[in-house]
Symmetry: C2
């Protein structure tokens, strides 16, 4: 991997890398924040999966996470939201399919399946790469994300039992088989068979009995996507029925933006830090 | 003034307003963060003056200030960096003159003088407006800023003795009469007479004996503008010679970006909070 940027940030270093991804068959960009503690020891890692239309840049610029990652001595790994490049298929007229909208699944349908392997990318290829090249303790991983990426974090945790120490989400798409964003992406990437979609849906996975690490989720009460896309109530009901260790909080007055995310970032990183110790 | 946006943020409200500015003779946009404490009482206020090319949006999105303003119960007022609109003269081929580059002076030369009255705007018209319309205690004001706006904060404090309780700056242009950015803006806005420029230069004002409230400044050691534009050493020497209560800190490895600003925002707001109490 090639380091393309290095910026001092909260006593640590914010770095950007580009590498040839085998599973996505294209060059992929990601950012990493290494706290000062990483200069003398391997540090635990928190993956942050971004939402629709984002790149690795949004959270590193607007999320306010570096302050808390520095305080707790945690590395942040911030991948892109899809494969990129001229060879990668896209739905140019849509913000919610194709580039910027990989949905963290492994696509099985043409023309998407060659490049859109984001689940394998964020759970396998990227973790192996950063563990081999950076002072990251791969035995201490947690995962979080926003919206599409909040759901991405949930499915990564649910589909990899025992892997992540904790999972959190900001305004996750709670039950994509039952919303337009989910229909659009899952239909395109996985085909028309809705039973297959359930293997990539957090609420459905929980209902099917998937184990889950401790979970924290925050949802803005004035989020304009809450009514039609997010299905927080369905996620909440599934967690309750399954008896999961899950705290899903409605935050009155907040919207879907990074102002919401940054307002609760401190809580999320402290939550993960508690599980990433030792 | 008209409120055009309201976003819940760190328990308070981030608002944006547009109003017809008398001194700038155009519509001006600014943002305000009101912490939760402002719901029951008037709160002290910190002005943040932004740097070249910025609007009110940069700091509210990337500065990380709302977290600390919420903690300390301080309102943030974030003005634009210049007059705006189709009628406002500009230097379209330059990022460092005209729109986005008002330099917080009152222009006296054509074609700038009609609209470019940013000093009066940020020290007089805007404070009167926010004090009359918002729960802000106008007797408790401090001021900060970045780069061009860091210098702007310094000259506002130096030219208004007794007005601000404290002043701070991130990577300020320390001595604009001696750098290209200063020559460009001061020459255009104020004319060729360099003695006139000195009335708008922090180092020159300090050398001429202007009193100054307690000052904190941070400067990144790897800032690419440090050698040619910022003259931190001249500002530092002037403060020392004048015996000012000024802490000007070199921060090893940091650049000129908002990653630098957000890394030290907590220190700056805590510094101002100490002076804004009671």
């Amino acid at each position: 991997m090639e380091q393309t940027e290095q910026i001092k940030d909260h006593g640590g270093w914010l770095k950007r890398f580009v590498h040839k991804s085998e599973c996505c068959q294209c060059d992929m960009t990601f950012s990493v924040f290494l706290p000062a503690q990483a200069e003398s020891q391997k540090v635990p890692v928190l993956y942050y999966l971004s939402g629709l239309t984002c790149t690795d840049d949004n959270v590193r610029t607007k999320g306010g996470a570096q302050r808390f990652a520095a305080e707790h001595g945690i590395a942040l790994v911030m991948p892109d939201t899809s494969p990129r490049g001229d060879d990668v298929p896209d739905a140019a007229d849509r913000y919610d399919l194709g580039k910027g909208a990989g949905f963290y699944v492994n696509a099985t349908r043409q023309p998407w399946s060659k490049h859109y392997q984001m689940y394998s990318y964020v759970t396998d290829e990227l973790p192996k790469l950063v563990a081999s090249e950076l002072p990251i303790d791969a035995s201490r991983e947690s995962i979080t994300g926003h919206s599409m990426g909040g759901h991405g974090a949930l499915i990564c945790a649910l589909k990899q039992p025992g892997r992540y120490r904790s999972v959190s989400a900001f305004s996750p798409i709670g039950n994509p088989v039952n919303c337009a964003w989910g229909h659009g992406c899952l239909g395109a990437y996985l085909g028309d068979e809705k039973n297959e979609w359930k293997n990539w849906d957090a609420t459905e996975l929980i209902e099917a009995g998937a184990p889950c690490p401790p979970m924290l989720a925050d949802q803005g009460g004035d989020d304009s996507f809450l009514a039609d896309q997010l299905n927080t109530d369905k996620l909440q009901a599934a967690c309750k029925k399954a008896g999961l260790d899950a705290s899903i909080r409605m935050q009155d007055g907040y919207d879907h933006s990074y102002h919401f995310i940054s307002s609760f970032m401190g809580d999320h990183i402290a939550f993960h830090a508690g599980h990433l110790r030792g």
